[in-house]
């Protein structure tokens, strides 16, 4: 029987009621008295020198309050980068300035040149069209390999080149890997592109800045996954506002997928302008604006080589990647192709020698940063594609080749500097074979062929590293932040609880799942627990939600704080029951003295904490409120095996997903319904990447896919029902809940399964096709078949 409450149950989500009745409170729903509206005039060229920006005509237009240009921000800090990568020669990365509004040059289509503040959004937009910009257009650098050639046009004149860094990992292994590849019985090589994507949460970004002249306090309402991070970055590095005078609120947020982690220019602008004008200033992104101002994801060009011995054991792996940074370094951009990518190259396999080289490159495109998975999908895609190619070259079953090379003993220290605590890759593959009915594939292929369709099966594994991460470790790796999480557990006098968490929910359902944990720990109904998040004014300093970290890190902080609560409550109970602390047990919301029938209800103890008449005042303070900061001891390592079956129309190249199955190991599960939903969403985005989505710039740097008319978002009829299973559970050994994280798995594990399936389908028809770059549009598949 499924549980009906607590850990392992799937209560209906309490946040759904407001979302289903139109009573959510998203940032664009916030309107402050007397607010003005800003419209950003953005560059329509990829690269240019600003000769002059004449705002005089625009300033005289109706309703215009003030027009800001780069000159207004000369004394203001630029947008900071939160991660400094050190290259393979020991030098720190090149780090260009990133002004709030362009100063001197524009570096990508969408770079903001001026900001018009007016009484209405329409007036602001109309006036922006009247600004006269004189621009000396410069050649754009778009292609990464061209950008790093000698003599290439530089995106930043003050840097030595367009190379941000040339990273080697593990550098000491470089020669040994070269030799192992040279000596191998077989080497499979694959060159591929991990296509540039746009996260596209359905809610576009919004920022509302406010200023209270009486208190000197600034407030920013913003669509963020991590309001405390924005407060710190914007306050300390851009605007010079101390935290006690700056409040950042991220209310209901309509999806993030990474793109709402970063500190953006528009947030700083609205906060700055509200103070300058003593008036609230609101910006609502249009979708077209989002395409050219939200940080993009992926965009790697990679060559990977897998060496095998004569018995098909993996002996070495070498990869070389060009990673697009875009025109500026977004908040966590440098970490994505390095520490979130190189460290995952072992995958599920005991390859003894690995070398990863990454060249991060500036181009005249929008900044690229973390998007669901962030480095881990790029690692998984190349690894699982090259393994599949190797199996086909060697004439062995792709699943058998994987099984043969699985890591089977844990903990396992990889040659790329991480230690997997637990996993069971055989079990997830066994489960996958069962739920995907792989033994029935031949019959399904025959049925498809009878209809004139080519059917393919693609299988792959993935490992990911979640719950980022031990602060001292990431500090050594260049992070300019700690990566703990926080929780304050406030117990009220009558026993109800409010948890103030530094995690942030923008679709993940924390308001439902977090109370399940506390309800289990204390033995009270979930509806006695409320979750507060998203407002720096009433939550402890926290690092927010990304990297599948909320439960593993934020949930652990909540557990630690609740443990402190329980310990104190037991002391109070012991005093009232005239027993020793050590003899008090808490079960089902009742404190009992072990071995006796003496007991007290949870509410009696919480009331005593606030009405401390019969209370050990000489030993402990009144009240029942505790805070914990939890710093993880390691990453967590979810893993799984995915299977995709496709049909390819040989006449048109159109690919349809016929079935998709995912067997994941997320460790312990708090809410299976929510976990299923996270996996579904990740699979949907993964199929989107594999078949549909691609962000395209032309050679001049014009963004060709700048709206939903051009950028192919997955729609309901592009996708099937999915079979998902997470019954394989090897609990994490180093966090108190034994949880691993599930938010990104689908987006990581899915793309290689789809591409492997299409290659399988084409090869089944005798086509000599070993790889097609994503997205596998009908045109690309048809060309591959008929090339």
């Amino acid at each position: 029987m499924p549980k009906d409450s607590g850990i392992g149950a799937s209560p209906k989500r309490r946040e759904d009621v407001r979302f289903l009745t139109g009573t959510g409170n998203y940032t664009d729903d916030i309107n402050l008295n007397g607010q003005a509206y800003v419209h950003f005039l953005r560059s329509d060229v990829a690269h240019g020198r600003l000769v002059s920006v004449d705002t005089s005509d625009a300033a005289a237009m109706p309703g215009v309050v003030r027009i800001f240009t780069g000159a207004d921000f000369e004394g203001v800090g630029g947008l900071p980068c939160g991660w400094q990568v050190t290259d393979r020669f020991g030098e720190v990365m090149q780090e260009p300035a990133h002004p709030v509004l362009a100063q001197g040059k524009v570096r990508h289509v969408g770079d903001p040149i001026a900001a018009v503040v007016a009484d209405t959004p329409e007036q602001a937009r109309d006036a922006a069209e009247a600004i006269a910009v004189e621009m000396e257009e410069l050649p754009a650098v778009i292609n990464m390999k061209e950008a790093v050639k000698d003599g290439a046009t530089k995106v930043h004149d003050d840097l030595t080149s367009n190379l941000c860094y040339d990273w080697g990992f593990v550098e000491e292994n470089r020669e040994a890997v070269d030799k192992a590849i040279q000596d191998a019985a077989h080497v499979t090589t694959l060159e591929l592109v991990n296509n540039r994507l746009v996260a596209n949460p359905m809610e576009p970004r919004v920022a509302v800045g406010d200023f209270n002249r009486a208190t000197g306090e600034s407030t920013l309402y913003t669509t963020s996954q991590n309001p405390h991070v924005i407060r710190l970055l914007m306050g300390a590095f851009v605007l010079g506002i101390p935290e006690h005078k700056l409040r950042v609120v991220a209310p209901d947020v309509g999806g993030g997928f990474g793109s709402k982690i970063f500190h953006y220019a528009e947030e700083a602008f609205c906060t700055f302008a509200a103070k300058a004008l003593n008036r609230a200033v609101k910006w609502t992104s249009s979708r077209s604006e989002a395409f050219m101002s939200d940080a993009h994801g992926r965009d790697h060009v990679t060559k990977i080589e897998l060496a095998l011995d004569a018995d098909n054991n993996f002996t070495a792996l070498r990869t070389e990647t060009y990673a697009n940074m875009g025109a500026y370094l977004s908040t966590f951009a440098p970490s994505v192709p390095t520490w979130l990518h190189g460290t995952l190259m072992a995958g599920n396999y005991k390859t003894p020698l690995i070398y990863v080289n990454v060249k991060a490159v500036f181009t005249n495109t929008v900044a690229v940063d973390a998007y669901r998975g962030a480095g881990r999908p790029e690692a998984t895609y190349q690894l699982e594609r090259v393994i599949d190619k190797a199996a086909r070259e060697l004439g062995v079953d792709p699943i058998a080749l994987r099984r043969q090379n699985f890591i089977t003993e844990f903990p396992y220290a990889t040659p790329v500097a991480v230690e997997y605590d637990t996993g069971d890759y055989v079990a997830t593959m066994d489960k996958l074979e069962e739920i995907a009915d792989l033994s029935g594939f031949a019959a399904r292929r025959a049925a498809s062929e009878a209809k004139g369709k080519l059917r393919g099966l693609g299988v792959n594994c993935y490992i990911e590293a979640c719950g980022i991460a031990p602060s001292n470790l990431v500090g050594q790796l260049g992070a300019r932040a700690g990566l703990y999480e926080s929780a304050t557990v406030r117990v009220n006098a009558t026993g109800g609880i409010v948890v103030m968490t530094g995690s942030h929910s923008h679709g993940q359902g924390h308001e439902t799942s977090f109370p399940q944990v506390i309800a289990d720990m204390i033995g009270i109904p979930e509806d006695m627990v409320e979750i507060e998040h998203g407002d720096t004014a009433n939550t402890p300093m926290g690092m927010g939600t990304y990297g599948s970290r909320s439960l593993a890190v934020g949930g652990s902080a909540m557990v630690r704080a609740t443990e402190k609560i329980i310990a104190k409550a037991k002391k109070i109970a012991a005093h009232i029951l005239e027993a020793s602390d050590a003899d008090i047990e808490l079960k089902d919301g009742q404190f009992t003295v072990a071995g006796t029938d003496k007991s007290l209800a949870w509410g009696d103890v919480t009331l005593a904490a606030y009405v401390p008449h019969n209370y050990p005042l000489e030993d402990i303070e009144p009240g029942l409120e505790e805070t914990a900061f939890y710093d993880p001891a390691n990453f967590t390592y979810p893993s799984g095996a995915y299977a995709c079956e496709v049909e390819v129309d040989p006449d048109t190249g159109k690919v349809t997903i016929e079935s998709f199955a995912a067997a994941d190991d997320f460790g312990n599960i708090v809410n299976p319904m929510i976990v299923d939903g996270q996996v579904h969403g990740g699979i949907g985005q993964g199929i989107g990447q594999a078949l549909l989505e691609g962000c395209v710039y032309d050679e001049d740097g014009q963004l060709l896919s700048a709206s939903f008319m051009d950028y192919a978002m997955p729609r309901a009829d592009d996708l099937p029902f999915y079979k998902v299973d997470h019954s394989c559970q090897t609990p994490c050994t180093h966090n108190p809940l034994g949880v691993k994280g599930c938010g990104e798995a689908g987006a990581i594990g899915t793309p290689p399964a789809v591409v492997n399936a299409v290659v399988d389908a084409l090869q089944s028809a005798g086509k000599d096709v070993t790889h097609i770059d994503m997205p596998l549009s009908p045109a690309r598949v048809w060309a591959a078949m008929n090339g």
């Binding site: 799937s10 209906k12 989500r13 946040e15 759904d16 009621v17 979302f19 289903l20 009745t21 139109g22 009573t23 959510g24 998203y26 664009d28 729903d29 309107n31 329409e122 596209n200 949460p201 359905m202 809610e203 576009p204 209901d252 947020v253 309509g254 999806g255 997928f257 249009s286 979708r287 077209s288 923008h506 679709g507 993940q508 359902g509 299976p672 319904m673 299923d676 939903g677 579904h680 969403g681 990740g682 699979i683 949907g684 985005q685 199929i687 709206s707 939903f708 008319m709 978002m713 997955p714 729609r715 309901a716 009829d717 996708l719 029902f721 999915y722 079979k723 998902v724 299973d725 689908g746």
Partner: protein, 161 residues
Amino acid sequence: MVKVTMTVNGRTASGEVEGRTLLSGFLREELGLTGTHVGCDTSQCGACVVHVDGKAVKSCTMLAAEADGAEIATIEGQAAPDGTLNVIQQAFQDHHGLQCGFCTPGMVMSAAALLKDNPKPSEQEIREYLEGNLCRCTGYHNIVKAIMAASGQDVSAVAAE
């Protein structure tokens, strides 16, 4: 400026709008009905779907002036006065058909229009009908399942709860 009067969720609503004011803007900014969301500027995403005289309409594609005299239904009017969710809303909650909630108002309004015309749609009919409603969170699995359930179909065979 143009004066418009329409019935919104059973109540008369009037306002002065510019000729270019969209129905979505009128609902959100003038009437404060912020449940209708705007997720794009090319009429692709469907977060703004409302019913105009009983038909599903993307309110970002219609001028407020065009809706003069019309009967408008929005997400705010879907639950019963005592707050009880309607069948479709309840099915979305029961089957986890929403995550961030941003596309949800449009999904619910589109689903209502579908079920009015086609009370027992097949999975494929639902998927095709939702062509104009984008969701980035759910991979559509639980949305399709919720709409099937709302139409009274047994969804226990659909993988994963």
